[in-house]
């Protein structure tokens, strides 16, 4: 299925949901897992709390369906709502964003090439160090790192999700990579030659 067809389907689902609220379950089913994973990657909240955020995300999505900007992809729009809701939850609870995300083999490959990580590290050891390092990054850098390298979003999409100009996103990604590299370096995760 091409990207256009997916978006066309999303548009149709939005229209259908506006006509009948029962159709909104299609959106829930389609995005639930992706969004849950995104919230979990970004936070250290308990599963129950993540479910609460997720529920709030879908309720807000439903209430604001008429605000869906058709110049964006529906995916960007719902990720935006999720991101904002997650950040707001942190601020309300006065907690810092602490990622508990543990990378898998696929992600390790991406990071290895993006920030030149030596590949012979023990995965468990690396996961621990990586999580610690990523938690030392400012909130905005942490978000772009996840969106770009883990969620695999492009600059334009990240710009639509975080509501920042694409140029700013590009700068953040570069700085995030450099900062993460420095932190990993301090923690003994060296750059390969």
């Amino acid at each position: 299925m091409s990207e256009n067809q997916t978006e066309l389907n999303d548009l149709s689902i939005v229209k259908l949901s506006l006509e009948n609220k029962e159709n909104f379950s299609i959106i829930i089913n389609k995005y639930e897992n992706k969004l849950r994973r995104y919230i979990k990657r970004l936070t250290s909240f308990s599963d129950d709390y993540v479910e609460d955020i997720l529920q709030e995300v879908f309720i807000k999505t439903y209430i604001n369906l008429n605000d869906f900007d058709q110049s964006l992809s529906f995916s960007s729009w719902i990720y935006r709502i999720t991101h904002n809701e997650t950040i707001n939850s942190f601020r309300k609870n006065k907690k810092h964003i602490e990622a508990t995300y543990l990378i898998d083999d696929e992600d390790l490959k991406v990071f290895s090439s993006e920030i030149n990580i030596e590949k012979e590290f023990d995965k468990k050891y690396f996961n621990k160090k990586f999580t610690e390092s990523i938690n030392e990054l400012p909130e905005k850098y942490k978000s772009v790192i996840f969106l770009k390298f883990i969620e695999g979003k492009d600059y334009e999409t990240i710009s639509d999700i975080l509501q920042k100009p694409p140029g700013t996103i590009a700068t953040w990604i570069n700085r995030a990579k450099k900062d993460l590299r420095k932190i990993l370096d301090k923690k003994g995760i060296k750059e390969y030659e």
């Binding site: 609220k21 879908f58 309720i59």
Partner: protein, 272 residues
């Protein structure tokens, strides 16, 4: 199996909540109105920025640069004294708010910060010049500025730095009562003017009963006039100081009383 159950649960919970609380999608016009609201506020801040620019232009046009060396040691200290800090600060605040409001519009986040800032500054400057020609700068600086606590419009400020008889400076409206001439200071005081060393031309200027600046010496019986500076703008717009030196000052040093020689503003007038 568990995953499917969890998925079903959240789906049911959400749909249940929508039904129980009778939640409905907000109408389209609400979002449209919100967007219009931010654009309108953004445009208003640019207009307010334009008004700040026009007040700033008015201040710089009415600083009375021609008198700087009589009241200040150099043009730098004079400029620092008259920079319209309030209007410039307000312009910065309006630009900041304008930028934030435009960012809050539907596609506002896509615009580069420099583009928004550049367009806002340029629009404020263009509007500022338009407002200046309409006369808004004067209205803001004079009528509004003088009502703001701890702030003085440029005209009042200018008079205040000339209302220092002990420093040899005076400004005010001339009033003649019988054979005596008085100057009404900006504070409303009537000060007798000692005119014995003025020539006929200078006396004639005094007798026009207009606002005037005087350089002189504060004495027991009043204010001894060394030199008078009529409001040149009433005579000819932008007449430079050197021209009025020739026009209004006596050329021969002997004719003038020696008393004025040590008055600082007078010395500046003679030798600069």
């Amino acid at each position: 199996m568990n995953k499917q159950k969890q998925q079903k649960n959240i789906e049911n919970e959400i749909l249940q909540k929508i039904s129980d609380e009778n939640l409905k999608p907000k109408p389209k016009w609400e979002f449209l109105l919100k967007n219009i609201y931010f654009w309108t506020l953004g445009i208003i801040t640019v207009i307010l920025g334009g008004l700040s620019v026009s007040a700033t232009i008015f201040v710089f046009k009415n600083i009375r640069w021609e008198f700087y060396n009589m009241t200040h040691n150099n043009i730098f200290t004079f400029t620092i004294e008259f920079i319209p800090y309030l209007w410039i600060l307000l312009l910065i605040i309006f630009l900041f708010f304008g930028h934030n409001l435009i960012r809050k519009t539907k596609h506002g986040y896509k615009y580069n910060i420099l583009i928004i800032a550049g367009i806002s500054i340029l629009s404020s400057i263009i509007l500022g010049f338009i407002f200046t020609t309409i006369g808004f700068g004067q209205i803001i600086d004079r009528d509004l500025g003088n009502r703001i606590p701890f702030h003085k419009g440029v005209e009042v400020h200018n008079k205040m730095i000339w209302d220092k008889p002990s420093d040899g400076l005076m400004v005010g409206q001339i009033k003649s009562i019988e054979d005596n001439l008085f100057i009404i200071s900006p504070k409303g005081e009537n000060i007798n003017l000692l005119t014995e060393h003025l020539d006929d031309n200078e006396l004639e200027i005094l007798n026009q009963n207009k606002e005037i600046r005087i350089i002189g010496i504060k004495k027991e019986g009043g204010f001894y006039i060394c030199h008078i500076i009529p409001d040149l703008r009433n005579i000819k717009e932008g007449l430079p100081i050197k021209m009025f030196k020739k026009e209004f000052e006596r050329k021969s040093g002997e004719e003038r009383s020696k008393e004025c020689e040590d008055v600082r503003p007078y010395k500046k007038l003679l030798y600069n």
